[in-house]
């Protein structure tokens, strides 16, 4: 059986290589959107005026929510390293709740804008606003689902055998956070 098992060519865990390649392929998705937005905005008029109708306060609060969730995600990973499985679960739950809070605030923002008549069809700025934040929100949702699965595994004790998954989920969660760090100034602060 010794010669039968798969051997590995590098020290890096296979899962981590996979996640990094996945993230590498995600960068052009948002990169394409952001470059399109910037180039069209540089060549067009009326974008700043449209942007001034966004709810800056909510978005700022949401930025803090998302940054805090990245902190709790890192703490979950730190507890994996410290081999304290109960706390891993608690921090995962906190991350999930902060993610849900982010989406709730975002939904509230959308509702307010649509009530004012700023629907996705209200102009090119609004197309990009809903497109970029919507795609980002879908990524947050996917991250919540991943963390939820890990949380359930933590509750059942199954996570202890696969604790490296917390780090992999964390890589993705931080990526989604970083995307927001680009979207926030581009949409709200200009």
């Amino acid at each position: 059986m010794e010669t039968g098992a798969q051997t590995f060519s590098t020290e890096i865990p296979t899962g981590k290589i996979g996640v990094w390649w996945f993230l590498a392929s995600e960068i052009p998705v948002f990169g394409g959107l952001i470059v399109s937005y910037v180039l069209l905005r540089l060549g067009g008029a009326g974008w700043s005026e449209a942007s001034s109708h966004l709810n800056f306060t909510f978005a700022l609060a949401n930025t803090f929510v998302l940054l805090t969730s990245s902190l709790t995600m890192v703490l979950a990973f730190a507890e994996v390293e410290a081999e304290r499985p109960r706390r891993v679960g608690n921090y995962l739950l906190l991350t999930i709740l902060l993610g849900v809070l982010f989406l709730a605030v975002k939904g509230f923002e959308y509702a307010g804008e649509i009530a004012k008549g700023f629907t996705p069809g209200a102009g090119i700025f609004w197309s990009f606003y809903y497109g970029m934040t919507g795609l980002h929100a879908l990524h947050v949702l996917a991250g919540i689902v991943v963390n939820l699965i890990l949380y359930l595994q933590a509750l059942s004790g199954a996570l202890q055998r696969h604790s490296h998954r917390v780090e992999l989920a964390g890589l993705y969660w931080h990526f989604v956070d970083v995307v927001w760090i680009f979207l926030f100034p581009l949409l709200y602060l200009t």
Partner: protein, 571 residues
């Protein structure tokens, strides 16, 4: 993940999977490769039929197509759209990238399976779902997508413009799912090659086809993102009322063209590189010579991959983009022919003074080479903006890209299929039928596409359903009819392959481990390889192309033979 792979491997070692796990929801890379191959060949037939219907309409406008009926102009638009979509995304990609990549990468690097076998299965089933959606889109009310395979807005952005509603929405959805499938596949390819190489299999001992598949995967993964976003934006324009591409809402139709071709041109190399990889394996084996310039080929591949990101706007010289962009994009386009020229010269130098056997795979490899050189040369014409302004959107372009893509997809694809058929299915293909298939394909291919250059220079536009409507195109009609007859013969010639394929599958001569006397690791295991591939993980001592080296009794040296050539031959 690593321990779960090992655990999975151990568990699979003991229990042979049942029917559903073995044939349908298989995680075995070889089975998944065959699933991709079957689906790709199915789509190739569908794509061929669309070509037949279009060619008939062009040669004999508004007559009944035998076996089908009349073709109305809007139906012709649908045929054009589907032919491109099917051939690029549902034939070339699944066969060259997914089928050969899945089959060859683990076997050639000495791995038991892909790094993520279940993700691999998921990739295939997402691709199957995309296929199902595309197939469904042909039958929905309003018809299938008919805005061209490039789907340019505003034509594609508003249902009123083409009269197609769900057909185009489903087309976009099918493409988005296909991209997602190949992204997962790309992650798997790259992770597998980075982490699952057998001991001794360094990056510079990898067979070139592995390098080509990996480069293709990287190019694909880094270029498709903007189009995934772009496709979602187009769908939103159609369904949610956004105005990304609609000038009346402040949007920009040209944006789509940039997003499309930023992916669309690298995509050409995503298809071409694996095709080249296949024949780079075949040429040294049937020349009994080491590959010429192994490392420079790898460096050229990487350079070509990097350059492929900065050539896209050569598709848009006449799009209304800033004309100052034409010169830089012309220059990069012409520069990208340098690394490809190097690879082509390396292939020719490998043949030089080799002891060449013209087996079926070798004939198809030679066909790939000669046809690609022709297509590469017309590519330099098209790449320079002053020439392109004259021939843009004519049949000259159609002829050009069929010379490059038909060579990569079909000539190289058939080369690969006939070469690895014994390994995939455990039986040899019939050589006589194979050679007949090659010569018929080669002759009729050229009979179709050489005259097409002339038709294009005569000014015939792409995507028109009836050339006789234009006074100045009427003198070209006999040539159009000649092309159509040749195209029908080209399609019929493929029946030889179909017969050979199925006949060999059932009654072909049983294949030994290494029928071609080749060096790479897949030939060291039984044909077909068992579940988990290797009895013991091999140890690699040599590069992949040690043919006719020194004083050996036999003229090849398998990668996993540790001893000196002479001893290796006796063992």
């Amino acid at each position: 993940m690593s321990d779960s792979v090992a655990a999975h491997a151990a568990e699979a070692h003991h229990a042979e999977p049942g029917f559903w796990r073995a044939y349908i929801f298989s995680t075995d890379h070889k089975r998944i490769a065959k699933q991709y191959l079957s689906l790709g060949l199915f789509w190739a037939i569908a794509g061929g039929l669309t070509a037949y219907m279009m060619r008939w309409q062009l040669a004999y406008p508004d007559t009944e197509v035998p076996g089908w009926g009349f073709i109305a102009p809007d139906f012709y638009n649908m045929l054009v759209t589907m032919h491109g979509t099917i051939m690029v995304f549902f034939v070339a990609m699944p066969i060259l990238l997914a089928a050969f990549g899945n089959f060859l990468i683990p076997l050639m690097i000495g791995a038991r399976d892909m790094a993520f076998p279940r993700l691999n299965m998921l990739s295939f089933w997402v691709f199957a779902l995309a296929s199902l959606i595309l197939l469904t889109s042909l039958f929905v009310p309003g018809g299938a997508a008919s805005a061209g395979w490039t789907g340019y807005p505003p034509l594609s952005a508003k249902p009123e413009y083409t009269g197609v509603t769900w057909g185009l929405n489903l087309w976009l959805l099918a493409l988005a799912l296909e991209f997602a499938s190949f992204l997962m596949g790309g992650v798997n390819f790259l992770t597998t090659a980075i982490n699952l190489r057998a001991p001794g299999m360094t990056f510079f001992r990898l067979p070139l086809v592995v390098w080509m598949e990996l480069t293709a995967a990287v190019i694909f993964m880094l270029s498709v993102g903007p189009l995934i976003a772009g496709a979602l934006m187009l769908l939103a324009d159609r369904v949610l009322g956004t105005t990304f591409y609609l000038p009346e809402g402040g949007g920009e139709p040209l944006l789509w063209q940039h997003l499309f071709w930023f992916f669309g041109h690298p995509e050409v190399y995503v298809i071409l590189l694996p095709g080249f990889g296949l024949i780079l394996e075949i040429i040294p084996v049937f020349s009994r010579k080491p590959i010429f310039a192994y490392r420079p080929i790898i460096y050229s591949t990487i350079v070509a991959g990097a350059l492929s990101f900065v050539v896209w706007a050569h598709h848009q010289f006449l799009s209304g983009m800033d004309p100052r962009l034409a010169m830089p994009f012309s220059i990069t386009t012409i520069i990208i022919s340098v690394p490809f020229a190097l690879i082509v010269f390396a292939m020719i130098a490998t043949l030089w003074r080799g002891s060449i056997t013209f087996s079926t795979p070798m004939l198809f490899a030679m066909g790939t080479l000669s046809v690609f050189i022709f297509g590469g040369l017309t590519g330099i014409f098209n790449g320079s903006a002053p020439v392109d302004i004259y021939i843009h959107d004519t049949y000259f372009i159609v002829a050009h890209f069929h010379y490059t893509l038909f060579s990569a997809v079909f000539f190289a694809g058939f080369a690969g299929l006939t070469y690895w058929f014994p390994k995939m299915f455990g039986r040899m293909m019939n050589e006589q039928l194979g050679k007949l298939h090659f010569w018929l394909t080669f002759v009729f291919f050229n009979a179709v596409f050489i005259p097409m250059h002339v038709v294009g220079l005569g000014g015939m536009m792409r995507r028109i359903s009836d050339p006789t409507q234009y006074e100045f195109l009427r003198p070209l009609q006999p040539l159009n009819q000649f092309i159509t007859v040749a195209a029908i013969l080209l399609l019929l010639s493929q029946l030889v392959f179909v017969v050979n394929f199925f006949w060999s599958l059932i009654c072909g001569k049983v294949a030994e481990r290494n029928p071609w006397q080749a060096n790479t690791l897949e030939w060291s295991v039984p044909s077909p390889p068992p579940h988990e591939n290797f009895h013991a993980v091999p140890v690699v001592y040599h590069g992949p192309y040690e043919y006719s080296s020194g004083d050996a009794v036999v003229d090849w040296l398998p990668q996993d033979h540790g001893a000196a050539p002479k001893a290796a031959a006796r063992s």
